[in-house]
């Protein structure tokens, strides 16, 4: 189960002059589709038994944030926190996490989100599939496990597919796969006693080129839009007439 620690983009501030995000002030959280995937994993554990292990990598991971995943029902966590990963792209992240997953032991189902909430690369699942030679089903909407076979419903833009795959399998969760629960106080307390293991990057035995990014971030800037911001007031009927007049003036109505 892969969970990424990300800045909360809904409360992120930016520097007014450079337009760069103030990541140093951001609230940290777990990725949205990662939490959905985690919920799916925990439900499978509750029905069929087994163990849910959380794996994470980042430049400066905060154990308290990772504990949220344990509070949501995972059993233990292994993570790599290393400044080198500040520059990590999907190539580096996938190489690191594939090794970390091996440290955690063989898994029947490897879950991750369809896209991370900060960078939204849509890459980890398919990349792990190549590295580990395990089939991957992306964008899962629904999963059903029976014996050593999993059935997955997934949505592409123009079709919904029903697939079947023998375990082990990698599944990436779409936001609709499960509704994450709010951890109870009891679960939060229990989480503080669950094992959390920090693994050093050097323990993973990765050659230099496997942690060398292929893509370098030059700048990040707020996307600015300027809109007219006209507020139309009055009773619905009057307001509707004003809107039609305004749109006519803009020349965006046909006829």
């Amino acid at each position: 189960m892969f969970v990424k620690q990300v800045p909360d983009v809904s409360t992120l501030e930016h520097d007014p002059s450079s337009l760069a995000p103030r990541l140093d002030r951001a609230t940290l959280r777990l990725g949205e589709s990662d939490i959905v995937a985690l919920e799916a994993a925990v439900r499978i554990k509750e029905e069929f038994g087994g163990e849910v292990v959380v794996l994470s990598a980042g430049a400066e991971l905060n154990e308290l944030v990772l504990r949220e995943a344990l509070a949501a029902g995972a059993d233990r966590c292994l993570y790599v926190s290393d400044p080198v990963l500040r520059l990590a792209d999907s190539w580096v992240t996938s190489n690191v996490l594939s090794r970390l997953s091996k440290k955690a032991g063989d898994a029947e189902i490897l879950f991750c989100g369809e896209a991370s909430s900060d960078s939204g690369n849509y890459q980890l699942g398919p990349r792990l599939s190549e590295i580990l030679s395990i089939p991957c089903v992306t964008h899962a909407l629904k999963i059903e496990l029976s014996g050593s076979v999993v059935r997955v419903k997934r949505a592409l833009e123009d079709r919904v597919e029903n697939l079947e795959c023998d375990l082990p399998v990698i599944i990436t969760a779409s936001l609709e796969l499960a509704s994450p629960r709010l951890p109870s106080l009891l679960m939060i307390r229990a989480a503080s006693r669950k094992p959390m293991t920090r693994v050093e990057l050097s323990e993973l035995g990765l050659q230099e080129d496997l942690i060398q990014p292929q893509v370098e971030r030059l700048t990040v800037k707020l996307l600015k839009t300027s809109r007219r911001g006209v507020v139309l007031t009055g009773e619905p009927d009057a307001c509707a007439v004003k809107l039609v007049e305004a749109l006519e003036k803009e020349g965006v109505l046909r006829g």
């Binding site: 849509y122 592409l156 079709r159 795959c165 936001l175 292929q214 996307l223 007219r228 009927d237 046909r254």
Partner: protein
């Protein structure tokens, strides 16, 4: 001359991607496409040197397409491999990128290539920001979000065609049990001048009739926020706009009962005029709008329909 490769299942995407290559002056291009595109006139005027025509492209699993694509790229001097930003291509490129130790960047919105330095832009941090990235390993696999670039038309040329048959994977892959083909609509949506878009402010599926009526009067296409298509299934997935859906730039975008989270609004930033109808004055959509209305949609949309009918009584 270095080669570039276009990977796409639809004609409009082949044209858009050729436009992307033209914008950075890359002339030598080949295409990896379904064999059904072979007869298309528009393809013949793109100056493509070679077409790899894949049988049953649309049914192929990503592992199989990845295998075939990897074979085409390995050993050849390829600079860029481009595809549209859709789920199957993002997955395909992540796979090939990983196995060839090549860079892969999804959802690019811009590209520049100067003195061999390749820089792309893409949305990040939920869509509220744009990052600019230098790509350092080639071939670079890039998926493009809204293309909106027209290709330069050349004289029709004869193109070398390599038929690839149906590709299969030798590996253990998921078995496809059944496919429910959804109504397509995204293409019309991308071309539409006016778009009426619905969100969770609508209480029941039947109520979408209000939006349909409005769209009919305006000659508009319908779109929606992600929860409407993905959670509720009230509209086809192809009609949702935003970070994970379509990116559109109509003349007029009317958002009804949509809160306007950044993941939604990024998909409509290119619109000329945005109208927001949302009963909550603090909803973020109002800050992204040219004209904002804070009424209950159930009162306002009928009023708007009436006002439009009165403008042109012959219509509707």
């Amino acid at each position: 001359m270095k080669r570039s490769l276009i990977v796409a299942g639809e004609l409009e995407d082949v044209l858009g991607l050729r436009g992307v290559l033209d914008s950075v002056g890359l002339e030598y291009a080949e295409a990896f496409v379904p064999d059904r595109l072979l007869g298309e006139r528009a393809v013949e005027t793109l100056g493509l040197k070679k077409i790899y025509a894949v049988e049953r492209f649309d049914e192929a699993q990503s592992e199989a397409l990845a295998g075939a694509l990897r074979d085409l790229v390995t050993g050849a001097d390829t600079l860029l491999v481009l595809a549209p930003s859709r789920k199957m291509y993002r997955e395909l490129f992540a796979r090939v990128g990983q196995s060839l130790a090549s860079a892969c960047v999804n959802d690019c919105t811009n590209i520049s290539l100067e003195e061999g330095k390749l820089v792309v832009e893409r949305p990040t941090l939920g869509g509220g920001y744009v990052e600019s990235l230098e790509v350092k390993r080639f071939p670079a696999f890039l998926t493009f979000q809204p293309m909106g670039r027209s290709p330069r038309r050349r004289d029709a040329t004869s193109i070398e065609v390599v038929k690839l048959g149906a590709v299969t994977s030798g590996r253990r892959t998921p078995k496809l049990l059944s496919v429910e083909v959804a109504e397509r609509g995204g293409a019309e949506l991308s071309r539409a001048k006016v778009v009426v878009s619905v969100g969770r402010g609508f209480k029941k599926r039947e109520d979408l009739r209000l939006a349909e009526e409005l769209a009919r009067l305006l000659g508009a296409e319908l779109a929606c926020s992600r929860p409407i298509s993905s959670d509720l299934g009230w509209m086809p997935e192809d009609r949702h706009v935003g970070l994970s859906g379509r990116w559109i730039s109509p003349q007029l975008y009317i958002a009804i009962g949509i809160s306007g989270q950044v993941q939604h609004t990024i998909g409509v930033r290119g619109s000329k005029i945005i109208v927001a109808v949302n009963s909550d004055p603090s909803a973020p959509i109002h800050r992204e709008a040219d004209y904002s209305v804070t009424h209950d949609l159930y009162q306002f949309i009928p009023a708007l329909i009436k006002a439009l009918r009165e403008r042109s009584p012959s219509r509707g």
